[in-house]
Amino acid sequence: MYKKFSFKVFLFVAIIFGLVGGFNFLVDPYGLYRTFEKTGINQQKEGVRSKIRYVQSLQVIMQSPKTLMMGSSRVHDGLNPQSKSIPSSFQPVYNYGMPMIRIKEVKLFLSHALKEKQVKNVIIGLDFFMFNAKEKLNREFDPTLINPNSYGLNLYFKPLFCASALSDSIQTIKISQLQKKRNEFLENGYRPGSQVNFGLKSYERLHNYTNWTFLSTNQTDTLYYQDFGLDNEAFQEFQEILNLCKKNNINLYLYISPAHANLDGEGIIASGNLHRFETWKKKITYIANDFNITLWDFSGYNSVTTEKIKTPMQYYWDSSHFTEKVGDLILAKVLKTTAITPYDFGVALTPKNIDSHIINTRLQRETYYQSHRIEMDRLHEMYHNALDGKRQNPKDVEGIF
């Protein structure tokens, strides 16, 4: 009698495991297997939302891409792997961008991806905040993601036989039903900005929210411009990335992201980081030059980055994230494909022109500042409140979505 007891318990457990595993496999909340996909049931892979690094670290191996696009969420939400600006010889392309990534993490995830030998091209969008010496790795960076020992466990066990995967599956079904037109986490790693900002009502207020987040000393999980420092270590990490690509015969394409001038111009100035920003640009220009790699700068005050803040906008979702349209322009310029870009969008930096480029940017800033006095006064007042640790005025951010 008791002999059967244990046997039946094991049998029941096996059945429960089979049911849970099968359910998770079909719903596929992390978008890893893609065997069954139906709008209204499981097209919106909600499980990915808080587990982007986990999913990206697996997909990048599963997809065997020839080209990687790396960087922060600016890359993740803005560069389409299917963009017409990408030559067909680059395909398959995988968008390997991750939210709030630091330069050290770029290096670690790049070397993880290079375990698969077919990668030939890497495009990296660089951001000033990646180099913050005050926070070199995200607190929640998980080294087991890039550890080959846990790869099988991560790919075949956790997404199927885990209670948290089960709840992610249920969430996936729930949101897929509620938002039938939403499909945010694609198989090629891309997370289109239009899907991220699904149902966006007020571009102005989303700008307010983002600007505040970058400078607020009160409500922050991670550090942006409110607490920023530079040290050599971050530049060494950058150098190691270039070395890694050189060693693996990889064509590397580098550019500095164009966030809106109100943030990666005024926000940097308001937080007292202008000098560090210029030093940073100079240093990475010299390092890239040492490796014979062109570094493109799309930031600053040009016809894209100074787009008027209104609803809707063609170039920006918020002050940090540009739209796919801008992504296409960047790719066209960096990959030298034939698409027309605005004449003032994108400067190739060299040790020869970097100093004059910095002075030019300052002059352009002055023009922009003077011609937008009322808006600038309001913006800088908000920045000062954020830096003072005040709470954001609820009216500035209500009704974004």
């Binding site: 007891f5 029941f12 457990v13 939210p99 089960l166 987040t213």
Partner: protein, 491 residues
């Protein structure tokens, strides 16, 4: 190796089990014991092999001392020999305590000396060997038992098995030599017993569920409140302290259930360690129900040798208080544990005095006071330092403000004038209404349910027992790991 790990559940346990009973079936009983010792040492070394020599040395030393004490008794009982038995015992105990002191309390001692005398000694940052608090106490008990002529066993293999037997090695229960050795030798225990396996599986499954599903759920709020929160409002602070109170119980008793369950599969009955402690109606009652084998150890090897209650009331009070101070410090090298021990010691003394005067109390009020005392004193047990304690207490007293759920804003608007606000009331500890539901469920379980040991004794091979065991085991296994989360959604 932890019980709640894949390697233990899917590899270590099945292999150890089958080889053990296969050897027994072949009547290789010595080999089967040796196998169990080997498996236990492997279990111990899994995390870090560096402390294997330490535990082996400790076992060899204590066995040598213990068996010498026993032998001396049988050879001669002259006065001088009797004296040297005692000094041998003293030497053994002091050595054990010295070992524990070195590994567990050295940095604490250095830190306090530096503070008191202004010295500048460097901390040694010694890593605490796994289970040292447990195997040291177990072996001190063995030495004392040997001295009291209660030890008959003198076989080194048996002794090693008794100390290292993997179910109790890392987190107890703290065993007595005399309750274990006969079980290892009993012929009946050498054959597979399906009833024991069923009961063991039941206990293990319930324990696993308690640990990885219930305790780990409470842990997220307790950790957020104790470790990261700057200031907690009234509800957050109480949710934090109650979450920890439940976390600790479900974690520790769950782990003990797993230990008892695994041992039972090998036909070994470990002593019960928890008996619904949060149902206690007074503090003495609590200590008869919480970590029972520790209380037993402290009673037999500290309280009674100090004189127990034989030397008048005042000495009894001071003995009780001392026992709890030692018990507090045993839990860890920090003044917080000492304060916690002192508080419980004081409560025990007050309770005893109360009883002496013949007072009684309403049952429900008694439970309420006892539970709250335990809940509040756990804050000292968990907090890193006085600042954290103060942070939690300030919150629990409402000094950091009171925030109520926003749906009450329309119903109780007059509270605004008393400084009560409405909004996201569990924001700081990352909780929500689920936290409330979990705490309510926690109360229901600790007060209304029979505990796992009682249930396992009533186990019948019925469908409902099978279902509950399967569900607990399956959900325990499904919750062993999770995909690591990343919380910065944007930028």
């Amino acid at each position: 190796m932890l019980f709640n790990s894949y390697e233990f559940i899917f590899l270590f346990l099945p292999i150890t089990f089958f080889v053990y009973f296969w050897l027994n079936k072949k009547r290789l009983t010595q080999a089967s014991k040796a196998w169990l010792v080997f498996a236990s040492l492997f279990f111990y070394s899994w995390w870090n092999i560096i402390y294997l020599p330490l535990i082996l040395g400790s076992i060899l030393f204590n066995f040598a001392i213990g068996s010498t004490i026993t032998k001396m008794e049988s050879i001669s009982t002259t006065l001088s020999k009797g004296f040297s038995r005692k000094s041998l015992l003293a030497f053994g105990i002091v050595s054990n305590i010295f070992l524990l002191a070195y590994f567990k309390y050295m940095d604490f001692f250095i830190l306090n000396t530096n503070t008191l005398l202004g010295t500048q000694w460097n901390l040694m940052h010694i890593v605490l060997p796994l289970g040292i608090s447990f195997f040291t106490f177990t072996q001190i008990a063995y030495l004392v038992d040997a001295y009291r002529n209660e030890v008959k066993e003198m076989d080194y293999l048996n002794y090693t098995l008794f100390v290292t037997f993997f179910p109790h090695l890392l987190a107890g229960p703290i065993l007595h030599h005399k309750e274990m050795m006969p079980q290892f030798d009993s012929i009946r225990n050498k054959v597979v017993n399906y009833k024991n396996i069923a009961a063991g599986l039941f206990l293990f499954s319930i324990g696993l569920f308690k640990k990885v599903v219930i305790a780990d759920t409470f842990a997220q709020w307790a950790n957020a409140g104790f470790d990261t929160a700057q200031s907690l409002n009234l509800i957050e602070a109480w949710a934090t302290s109650l979450s920890y109170t439940f976390q600790l119980y479900f974690d520790f008793s769950g782990y003990t259930d797993m230990a008892l369950g695994v041992a039972l599969m090998f036909n070994i009955r470990l002593p019960i360690n928890f008996n619904s402690p949060y149902k206690a109606l007074n503090i003495q009652d609590f200590w008869r129900r919480w970590h029972i084998t520790l209380s037993r150890f402290l009673r037999d090897y500290i309280y009674i040798p100090l004189g127990g209650n034989r030397n008048g009331e005042l000495r009894t009070y001071s003995n009780l208080f001392t026992v709890f101070l030692v018990g507090g410090l045993w839990h860890g090298a920090s003044w917080m544990f000492v304060i916690w021990g002192a508080l419980h010691g004081s409560a025990i003394v007050i309770h005893r005095a109360w009883q002496q005067f013949g007072f009684t109390m309403n049952k429900y009020l008694a439970w309420f006071i006892t539970f709250n005392f335990i809940n509040i004193t756990w804050v000292f047990f968990r907090a890193k330092d006085g600042v954290h304690v103060q942070n939690i207490f300030n919150g629990m007293l409402g000094l950091n403000g009171i925030v109520l759920p926003s749906f009450l804003a329309n119903k109780l608007p007059f509270l605004n004038q008393f400084g009560v606000s409405f909004g996201r009331f569990l924001l700081t500890i990352k909780g929500d209404l689920v936290t409330f539901a979990a705490i309510a469920a926690g109360f229901a379980i600790i007060v209304l349910f029979r505990n796992s040991t009682t249930l396992s004794e009533q186990l019948k091979p019925t469908l409902s027992f099978q279902m509950w065991t399967s569900i607990a085991l399956a959900f325990g296994l499904l919750s062993l790991t999770k995909v690591s989360e990343f919380l910065y959604f944007n930028f």
